[in-house]
Symmetry: C2
DNA sequence: GTCTATACGGTGATAGAC
DNA sequence: GTCTATCACCGTATAGAC
């Protein structure tokens, strides 16, 4: 499909800013300034305004997240090794951004609960798709479908919580510890 | 110590609103309206304005969190039983608020990283104190000091991540699963 | 069809009345 | 000391020029 450049630019800039600052903290003027897009274009491409733009940005983020996770998890056949390694990659990413990025959904996910059903649904969908990637990997590693789904939730929660604590503390020690702990946990967990 | 009523009221209202909506989404006018405090009082008690008020609200939240966690964990001598039970209590709380509350620090913790050092420090301190409660419980349960600290981080991350996913999904199934999983994990984890 | 200029409401903050 | 009335600014959204 043909992608309009201004539209794509707008979505990517929004995704990046929202990841760093959150939804309410990110103003349209900042988005327009950083993306180099004129104000009117925004309402041409996104008639419903900021909320619609943010929802598209979340969908874009979800797509990227699924792609990255899938690729990273393919590096090792054993999910108990691949998942911790993926988490260490996230830790690198968080550090490289000076703790301004990582967990691109966290803030919006929480803000959206009390402010926008549209955004909330976009976040639900994003997390669901991410968990499916983990679940597929776990199932391929020998876990039953229900157990894989179950563990995928646990892994996602640990990653999100770990990213949150790491960004807050300006140190990814927690995230790396979690990677190790999850490795142990997955090794021990019986496959039934 | 004598606590000024208007000041306390302001702090508690801010803590509640910020927990539900986040820092940037919560306006001063809403805080004043809900607390029934006149506008001028705010700047008398908190000369530095919203940021100072929010920092005090975070400190207040931390105090409450530590108190609740300590009390809840005292219910069972075994940390591997007490911690999951505490998490189930959180799940109740999240549901009772219709997913508008729970994880009172998450949003501010993340927003603060790129916006306010003062708030960020308040959040760091809050998480540190909460983790100390878990660590103390784990150490009393037989873990070494270093292992207790280590596991306390993992527990905190799992709780925060689980609360995030539960609020987003409008279902505490994830949080309850995490409670069970952590119970298993702590039972298996060798005490050294 | 694409964008510039403008409107309007609400934000955080303050000066000064009681 | 406590609060009311007002400010300057930035937020999102739109109308209409090219």
């Amino acid at each position: 499909m043909v992608m309009n450049n201004a539209r794509e630019q707008l979505i990517e800039t929004t995704a990046a800013l929202v990841e760093a600052q959150g939804y309410h903290a990110t103003g349209l003027s900042q988005i327009l300034k950083e993306s180099g897009t004129p104000k009117g274009s925004l309402y041409y491409y996104f008639p419903a305004g900021k909320e619609e733009l943010a929802a598209e940005a979340i969908a874009h983020t979800a797509q990227l997240l699924v792609k990255r996770a899938t690729e990273a998890l393919a590096a090792d056949d054993d999910p108990a090794a691949a998942i911790p390694e993926f988490i260490r990659t996230i830790a690198h990413y968080v550090e490289a951004s000076d703790f301004a990025a990582g967990g691109p959904l966290i803030t919006v996910a929480l803000e959206s609960v009390t402010c926008s059903e549209r955004l909330n649904l976009a976040c639900q969908d994003a997390y669901r798709r991410l968990q499916e990637v983990f679940a597929a990997k776990l199932q391929a590693g020998g876990y039953s479908a229900t157990q894989a789904t179950h563990l995928a939730s646990f892994v996602t929660a640990a990653i999100e919580g770990g990213t949150l604590l790491s960004r807050t503390a300006h140190s990814c020690a927690v995230l790396r510890q979690i990677a190790d702990d999850l490795g142990v946990f997955l090794h021990i967990m019986p496959k039934s």
